[in-house]
Amino acid sequence: MGATPGLSRRAFVFGSAAVAGGVAFGSYGRAEETPASPAPTNPLAADLGPDSVAFNPWVEISPDRITLIAQHADIGQGIGSIQPVMIAEELDLEFGQFEIRFAGPSPAYFNTGFAHELAPFMAADQSPEAEKARAVALESLRQSGLQMTGGSSAIPDTYEKLRVAGAVARETLKAAAASRSGVAVADIRTEAGHVILPDGTKIPYVALSAEAAKIPPVTDVKLRDPSQWRLIGKPMERLDTRAKVTGEIMFGIDRKMDGMVYAAVKLNPNKGQPIKSYDASKAQSMPGVRQILKLSNGVAVIATNSWYAMQAADLVECIWEPSKYPAEQAGHWDIVQSSFTPEFLAKQWRNDGDIDAGLKEGTLLEAEYRAPYVGHQPLEPLNGIGIVTDDGMEIWVGHQTPQSVQYIAANAIGMKPEQVTFHNEWSGGSFGHRLEFENVRALAEIANQLRGTPVKIVFSREQDFLQDIPRQIAMGRYRGSVKDGKIVAADVQVAATPPFKELLGRMGMPPKAPDGQLAVGIWNMYYDIPNYRAASFEVQGVSPSTTWRSVGASANGFFTESFIDELIHAAGLDPLQARIDMCKIPIYRKLLETVGEMADWKGPLGNGKGRGVAFVESFGTSVAEIVEVTMTDAGIKIDKVWVAADVGKVLDPINFENQVQGGVVWGLGHAMNCELTYANGAVQQTNYNHHEAMRMYQCPVIEVRGLENDYTVRGLGEPPVPPAAPALANAIFAATGKRIREMPFNKFIDFV
């Protein structure tokens, strides 16, 4: 298909060039003119032992072990498992024959998976113009060298390059065996970690490492056809499953070092502001306490144990510099509400047909929607271990952006990013939290004051909540019209803080372009509405915000799919059939039809039961969901959820199902039960009793089906989230006649 006519070009997320931590973000325009930069050196080469070989940045073989490098951070999504599996598929390794190591920072690991998101074309667009834009975006990413886990990009990034990495290693090992044995490469094969000669002689890969190191890697490789795959696409046990069940897995918070001291912090809850003064007299005399240190935005207690440190930190009395944003929540909403003006217009993303004329036809509908600040709060609190010497800093912390850890830590202590050595860790969840730096900055400041001593920082849950940079706050003002059983017009306006733009700013590379995340869910809307306009407004001067699992779509998807439902209802149509009829993209139509078949959708249920449907594409992946609820005497009960998602290729079917189920729980739980609100400049919710999300008693059965109709492989960490909230709200409407236009829903209706 060609570019969808009438769509305005989306601005590139990474607008202008900026430099951070030695990482240059090339601008899109410049990338078009600049020749490809030379391939970065292999980061594994520097630390390679004797007689060892690193075929590329992902495969290392020494005389005693095979190590596969995971460039993307594992935050629970399973990428720590599927990355080595993709290499093992082509390298003919079996489970148990290799070790996994997380990558250090290097431009060799730049994320190719953002190319689709950066190019201003719809996900389904395969036109030459779209592909050219993606190629240019890819070159811009190459120049940036940015290594980041996020945006559901890890699979699109690694799907080809890791299989190539495995194939290159395999062919090079075969070449080494050929030169040793004098047998032609064509007569040599590989199986289960061995090169096999025609006479049946088996040579373990590790026995060939020294010889393989002496020959240039064989890069002219052909990837196997998926029909030949042994591992990918088949049910498999995630490589981290067993260690997570035995308790052996080591998360960042579990690491220990000789001579280590424990640190807890009390930081200014007025985000971004310094400390004025403090009184540590009570804390000083607490058991286990060694020292109280002043930090730029708070204090740290150094103790012999994390609990001693946290107890004492609680007792430090601090005078904070007040917030620059409104102290009270109502003030934040006032600013959001007053941002729908030309002054704050970020971009008009679409303007199809004649919106003014369209809105004058038929019946006019108007609705206002709200999405509050929400916390990330992965169960493993922020932590890290760091040691600073006169030469530099070494840091162990679970993080999604290694180079930015270097940049932030170095800036905090007046060093250069290349002086910071970063080691990644298995993370106990993230949901966007481990893209930020509150723990990294504090740890660097503390370790810098205790040079030579390893410092372990653990945030108390309360500090973690208080320092959590939340999901964007957002408001939607929607107008539309229906006539003769058809939707004639929809005018979509969203005002929100720009989460990704703000994150990039903190990473030292502020973009000039409007935040593309605010377009998601309003720009990439696939229904055939003849008069359609969509614009975003950038809210300024409120709390900082950042990316939260599914980012812009988490709010916009709720607004848009709720409003579409309102229009469909006003037009007297069936919510599912109307969406199918209006959907312009055949594979997305198929997705809606599939979810309808799964749920056996036959229209209204009656008897206090209701079903709602929603469909959102985010990060290129389309997901359709149906939620069924029952209105009981005590409140709404969620009975069941059906989900159909199209990722082009399902690589790990069991983990696929688990991720979708988790995404739905995330989307539903926060829509029902969670918000962060400010009072006196600090968030009022400081533990899980105030920010409950979903517990098991509210969790429905979630039936999942993966489709493989998309033309390219897609990510799945986030896309199941956005349709969950609107599907639930639409189901509540079907069951009760009540429209809920603001999250969290429990402000308006009870759940059982």
Binding site: R238, V245, G247, N305, V665, R695, C699
Partner: protein
């Protein structure tokens, strides 16, 4: 000085009597499978057995558990995998896995009192254990599977 037995091994620790068992295990003894999540018994990630009972170790004062036998996930199977662990592997419950040691200890406790639990039983007992990744449905399925395993032994 307090005496405490963890997974059959005796230890002596020198901490204040108010220190929660969680931090004794993690920071003093280096046994890290019980996790810190909330610190106030809201999440269940720190759940261990004390004399066979599932306990939130963030709320158990050292003075109150001194001399008692503590079992963490490493000790529940007596050198083998416990049927609950086997079911957790077969159904691949974990995503990030941070809450799962606490979930399994709680599930083992549930199965002692409810050898054939209904979904309602499971929901009631397991709702105190938070999972931010959203693995609840898989936990329910794994608990049913573990019940069958234990019942069949």
């Amino acid at each position: 000085m307090f005496d405490i037995t963890v997974n059959g091994v005796k230890h002596q620790v020198d901490v204040v009597s108010e220190m929660p068992l969680l931090w004794v295990l993690r920071d003093e003894l280096g046994i890290t499978s019980p996790k810190y999540g909330c610190g106030i018994a809201l999440c269940g990630a720190c759940t261990v057995q004390v004399d066979g009972e599932a306990v939130r170790s963030c709320q158990a004062r050292m003075a109150d558990v001194a001399g008692k036998a503590v079992t963490t996930i490493e000790g529940v199977g007596n050198g083998k995998l416990h049927p609950v662990q086997e079911a957790w592997i077969e159904h691949q419950v974990a995503q990030c896995g941070y809450c799962q040691t606490g979930q399994m200890i709680q599930a083992i406790s549930l199965l002692k009192t409810h050898p054939k639990p209904t979904d309602k039983d499971i929901n009631e007992v397991m709702s105190g254990n938070l999972c931010r990744c959203g693995t609840y449905e898989r936990i329910r399925v794994a608990i049913h599977a573990a019940a069958e395993k234990i019942g069949g032994e």
